[in-house]
Subunit: 333 residues, 2 copies
């Protein structure tokens, strides 16, 4: 578990997109952010107070989170100075970079000397069990997609936000690096050893109050041959009571697989439900979440209406319209 | 790749079952075994010549393979003496034990000093790629099961043996520890990092002659919630042209999951084929392999006849009857 609140490190981000991890944290957990730390030439701005390390410390920040993707996969010398300073000023560090903080000798030596923690969220920090398939108390909802990178995390975070706003008991359960940095905990599922994938998700979504919802972040797609095994482990480890189908209507082929077309939403519904019922025979598909960013308002409305009528399920774009129809469907279960 | 031929180390096996890895190597690759090494009190016997290390070396052995499961997960002091001796006498060591050879300081120091290799086949030795889904040349057949530990490896090894005997081009592709020790190479799929599972199977079954068959060792089951993700990665990474369904008719629940019943063979056929067609639309289910060990000859015959008639597919127990009907179905593809 990463200690909050955070100071968001934006470094020398060459453009706003490079800081999308920081943006995610700011958008979904603003209460976890006391400020931002920007270096010379930084082109990203979270609209948070710019702070020195000392100012952030005084404001209560516990962890400096690297919210920016580095160039060429290296942790640059100019970043190093700030990171070493932060350790000296009693910050923990957290990062989702491919290059691990712990593999930088100067950082690991400084962390050892100062007693601070380096959180590399790409690396599992727990020895997960093998899944036992036992039924847990409480409710779980999982977003599955016709493809990867299609809005599953966004859908889950929006659902969790809106459910809590509606007075429901809900916890977003992160299964990827960005999700883990947003919430401070979770399972980096794509880095888990094969035999322990489903067990890691059982561990992540334990027994809970009967009226509590775990909103589990989806990964991959049953139809994406590179990552489908990860998706199935998530379905069988998560034992969802409810599935939400995620789709992007203008995509022409599976992400990174030019020869592979996307499945129809009907196919995803049938296959996803069949798979989910192996672990939880009561599972239901409750709704559809569509990323309509590429459509005009009118096109989006028309598309959602058509899909909803065709499939007999509520269909929304959470970014445009919120998640109310999905939440109503969950409450009706 | 583990150098052959082997000297099989049976240690102080308390019973024949403890030496089942050695038995598998002896049964399927007798040409790889120059002899066996047994210690005081060993209750297993591969019917191979008992040899000292020096005798085995003189007979050409390159690797001492630990073919016995150790007690309590520890590599005992009495084993150590033999293993250290073997390194001194220019043997490599190979092991599928949970406790890694490389983590034993005396063994790793001796291996470094003598220039020998310690093969821990539980640990991937390769950085596998992420699967790209591209079609490879050559044919692939995969056994999938209604449950784990239901005869998939046996079926694949028997198929490979019988195909080669029939003059076909065939390679058994190991995906588990025992299979790897039997053939000297393969992918320890259950130990691969989630993101690289399907890619490891693409790597294992590369482009080949159009009339060459990779006979891929199955793992887990789409219906076993602990390991289903591993199975799906195998299906999507392997791009099988043919599936063989494996079943054990007397099993009452999924292995290790008392609350979970087995699927019908029809369910496995439909779900397995649907999944396989995502990666290879031409895939077909060609036959059924049944482990009838718990049935009498007459019961087995009757069961296989009934299943074959019901499903319109050849059904055999490879142990009792060989795999000819399955091979004929593969040749007819």
């Amino acid at each position: 578990m990463i200690e909050t609140p955070y100071l968001l490190f934006l470094g020398d981000a060459p453009d706003p997109l490079a800081a999308k991890v920081a943006q995610g944290i700011k958008d979904w957990r603003p209460e976890n952010c006391v400020g931002q730390f920007r270096m010379e030439g930084c082109k990203a701005d979270m609209k948070l107070p710019d702070m020195t390390l000392a100012e952030a410390k005084a404001a209560g920040a516990k962890t400096l989170v690297i919210g920016v993707a580095n160039r060429g996969g290296k942790i640059s010398a100019s970043w190093k100075e700030v990171l070493l300073d932060a350790l000296d000023q009693d910050f923990d560090l957290a990062s989702g970079l491919h290059n691990l903080l712990r593999n930088e000798t100067d950082l690991s030596e400084k962390a050892a000397a100062t007693g601070r923690t380096l959180h590399d969220v790409r690396v599992p920090a727990v020895e997960y069990p093998i899944a036992n398939g036992e039924k847990r108390r409480g409710k779980r909802v999982l977003a599955i997609g016709t493809d990867c990178s299609i809005g599953k995390m966004y859908t889950a975070l929006a659902l969790d936000r809106d459910m809590r706003a509606a007075g429901m008991k809900s916890t977003f359960r992160a299964t990827g690096q960005t999700g883990i940095l947003i919430t401070g905990e979770g399972v980096p599922l794509d880095a888990v050893i094969a035999d322990f994938m489903a067990g890691s998700i059982e561990w992540l979504t334990p027994d809970n109050d009967e009226d509590h919802w775990d909103v589990i972040e989806g990964q991959g797609s049953l139809y994406h041959v590179s990552f489908s095994g990860v998706t199935l482990a998530l379905i069988h480890g998560g034992q969802p009571d409810a599935l939400i189908l995620c789709h992007e209507p203008t995509r022409t082929h599976m992400r990174g697989l030019p020869g592979y077309g996307l499945p129809a939403l009907e196919d995803l519904r049938d296959l996803g439900l069949q798979m989910a019922k192996i672990a939880n025979p009561d599972c239901q598909v409750v709704g559809i979440s569509v990323n309509t960013a590429a459509l005009s308002d009118a096109e989006a409305e028309a598309y959602l209406e058509e899909v909803s009528a065709r499939m007999g399920l509520p269909a929304v774009d959470p970014y445009r319209h919120g998640t109310q129809p999905l939440i109503a469907a969950l409450q009706a279960l």
